[in-house]
Symmetry: C2
Subunit: 148 residues, 2 copies
Amino acid sequence: MGGSSSPCASCKLLRRRCTKDCIFAPYFPPNEPHKFAIVHKVFGASNISKMLQELPIQQRADAVNSLVYEANARMRDPVYGCVGAISFLQNQISQLEMQLAMAQAEILCIQMQNNNNNNNLCEIQINNNDNNLQHEYISLLQIINNTN
Amino acid sequence: MGGSSSPCASCKLLRRRCTKDCIFAPYFPPNEPHKFAIVHKVFGASNISKMLQELPIQQRADAVNSLVYEANARMRDPVYGCVGAISFLQNQISQLEMQLAMAQAEILCIQMQNNNNNNNLCEIQINNNDNNLQHEYISLLQIINNTN
């Protein structure tokens, strides 16, 4: 019974006796049957058991949480799972890096304009349209380089 | 033999006959035995087979690639797997968003300084030290608000 009054969610689903030293019981309580069902469907009970056995006890709860997260992602997106989320975040980082580089170039440009008191230097309008970002950033850098 | 001269990597590892309609054969060629071994260790051959069967043929190659990526991540980091990478990328996004907000506030500040010709407005030095970012950003916004 994994130390509680009813078998854990894993043993209940697998229809087996839940012993005192059940490896699943601490992480899959009987009142959360869906949690085990989803990781069982994606990873399989046998693989989860092996993965947990290879980890020290204090890391097993984190491992179970990450497996549940991954399994949920795979259920939502059966083709890409977590990798879809990684790809989305990487794209977001690329866009933010570009916007930051643009903003830093704009700061540099305004500061140079102030220092040189040259009103013709920074006539490029910063346009947040993604299609124009790279082109404008390169143009801006060229202007800065030409004035150095 | 999955249409080729030798059994696919999956059937070879599972020691079973590789038939012409083997679901694994197109994605796990015999010359890449490690690719199947790793997804089998993490997801199990039976689960992979079920997942592939539930997908249209044209999406299966992408699904296999994402499963291999996920399994590799789990091998490298048995506690967090792909979720560790997601967490890392989310932190990176938070830092970039903060840096971008700082840079945009600085642009606004310089522009206001130019418009008002008030040299005392923007005396805060933008410091990229992460520990000071949030504090300085709030200070900057307070100055901007006070001048409106």
